[in-house]
């Protein structure tokens, strides 16, 4: 059993449940918990729920030190780009402390941020910087696409003993879907087949899952059966599930909101070029943002971002392509 929940709500429920469960979980960030009427403050008090100044280095650095000494901080960072002013904490502090200490400390924390806000926020606020946080030994990267995953993976992220970056896509905030009741956990590091199919594998993350599912629907009407795989966790990446899907379909389209060479898609394509090569009947095809920043104006913005139409035509092109080696 479950109930319909908005994506954003599912995240809030997960945080609330985990804070109830474990008193070492603290939650802070900018522009939250401003008054005593804040629901988290009401439930958990001002010690565990706090507001911060615009000080990402301190916010994230304090989380690292707190995690090393026994708290499990969740830091609300709002937009993934704001992490960049203190990116050292994300990729060069939190994931290194355990290793450098020879296993003496652990750093259980969650850096939570939205991303990919394709709604006129222009070049500095609309990015998809997922690739920069992949493949960092010691760092997990979670990117849900449904309310159930949003809840289940936030709970897993909070319980994880490693630093986890949890990115939620702004365009999904109000999307409603069913979330199982109770203590629902989704394991980190396990991809999910969001739609089964036989002719082509589409790998996509977050908002791109939604677009890919819509594209798959359009393709189904033309008799093309697309399988949509959502890695859900980009680090560690479940290469195996992706390769198994390619084994079945023989064809791979990757959809990503970032420009091509800064996309998670490129990294996944690289893995498949090594581990799934023998199953491929056609070149992989990436559907990504164009090699521009995201412009402000709507016609230009939608021009540079991946569309359902571009996904559909990419699928058709890999289906048309010749089988491999000359």
């Amino acid at each position: 059993m479950g109930r319909e929940m908005m994506f954003g709500e599912a995240i809030a429920v997960a945080i609330t449940e985990e804070m109830q469960r474990d008193s070492s979980v603290v939650f802070y960030g900018q522009n939250m918990a401003m008054t005593d009427r804040d629901p988290y403050v009401r439930k958990f008090g001002k010690d565990r729920v706090r507001i911060t100044p615009i000080s990402e280095t301190a916010e994230m650095g304090i989380a690292v030190g707190a995690a090393m000494t026994g708290l499990r901080p969740i830091v609300e960072l709002y937009m993934s780009e704001f992490m960049l002013v203190a990116f050292d904490e994300v990729i060069n502090e939190a994931p290194r402390m355990r290793y450098m200490s020879g296993g003496q400390v652990k750093v259980p924390l969650v850096f939570k941020a939205g991303f990919g806000f394709a709604a006129g926020w222009a070049a500095q606020h609309s990015n998809s910087i997922l690739n920069t946080m992949m493949g960092i030994p010691g760092l997990k990267l979670v990117v849900p696409s449904t309310s159930a995953d949003a809840k289940g993976m936030m709970k897993s992220a909070i319980r994880d003993d490693n630093p986890v970056v949890y990115l939620h896509h702004y365009m999904l905030t109000l999307d409603k879907s069913e979330v199982p009741d109770g203590d629902y956990l989704v394991p980190l590091g396990v991809a999910d087949v969001k739609r089964a199919g036989t002719d082509v594998t589409i790998v996509a993350t977050a908002w791109m899952v939604k677009k890919s599912l819509a594209a798959a629907e359009m393709l189904a009407k033309e008799g093309i059966s697309a399988e949509v795989v959502d890695p859900r966790t980009l680090a560690p990446l479940d290469v195996d599930t992706i390769v198994q899907s390619v084994r079945k379909t023989g064809r791979l389209v990757l959809v990503d909101q970032a420009p091509r060479q800064s996309s998670a898609a490129a990294v996944i394509a690289g893995e498949v070029a090594e581990h799934g090569f023998r199953y491929l009947k056609a070149p992989v095809k990436m559907v990504t943002a164009m090699d521009t920043s995201v412009p402000y104006s709507a016609p230009m913005e939608s021009y540079v971002l991946p569309s359902e139409e571009r996904i559909v035509s990419a699928v058709k092109s890999v289906l048309a392509a010749q089988a491999a080696a000359v």
């Binding site: 522009n31 615009i54 780009e81 109000l174």
Partner: protein
Amino acid sequence: MQSKEALGKERLIWMFTQMSRIREFEERVKRTFVEHPGVIRGHAHLGDGAEASIVGSLTARQENDLVMPSYRCHGYPIVLGTDARRLMAEIYTRKDGICKGFGGSMHLADPAHHFVGTSGIIGQGIAHAAGAALTAQVKKTGQVVFSFFGDGSSKQGAFHETLNLAAVWKLPVVFVLENNFYQAYTHIRLEDANFMAGDPLSQKAKAYSIPGVTVDGTDPLAVYEAVGQAAERARAGQGPSLIESRFYRFTPHGNAITVPPVPTQFQEHEAIEVYGNKAEFEAARANDPIPKFRKALIARGAISAADADRIEAAARAEMDEVVKFALASPLPAPEDAVNYVWA
């Protein structure tokens, strides 16, 4: 520099005119969300309430001095001579926009009018402004750079690093900390250690051994004098100063953040919406810098009530025209997006 008492009638009228123009422009931006929903995208931040501080500061400018504000940047170019029609067209996502529809409200730029550009990321524009001052220093242009940023931004590492380095290098830059008592929805009493202790934010200057002054940002002449002295100091090669200019913003931080197609508008000011503190908001509104300056100018004999009315009417008429122009301007072509990636 001229003392504020010595400022001529013409200059004072210019100041009042610019303040009125900013106010009318921002009113139009706000109304657009109601009258033409969807025409403005993303996040827009208004400068109503800041007019005295902006215009007072820029009155201290000399020809060729550069200006680098934050993402809350509509007011400055209006004063600097940028075509307000093209500013509005940019905010309206249009091809005739000052940035051709690439930047939007947060990223206006008009280098031809000494408005170099802005960053939407907190604190970074402070460093960029110091960089422009480095250019002025190395090229010996005699320019001073006017850097504007918020109270909230003064808690970002970029503020600290830049003020120290600007002091060490004696860069010709004036740092104007616009303290409007809020960073987004957060009241300053929740986040600034100086404020919590009852100290002015200008005290931060002590960490860099530079002058630090707090000034009434609703009085354009007081701001002019404080910023002007700092600019003189900078121009004389004595390095940067920090001016804390205190005023209130009359509109909430920005239009509400929604997910399309849910429409977005400006809500009530955070004082009321978040903190339920109507008294604070109303006291600030009662201290509106524009009628206050109007009254002071009339008292000083610089202007008659009728002249003031005419100036305000002209600003209204201009901004009606501005909206019309912007609405009529075409959208950029989708393929335009591939331009300007590389120089």
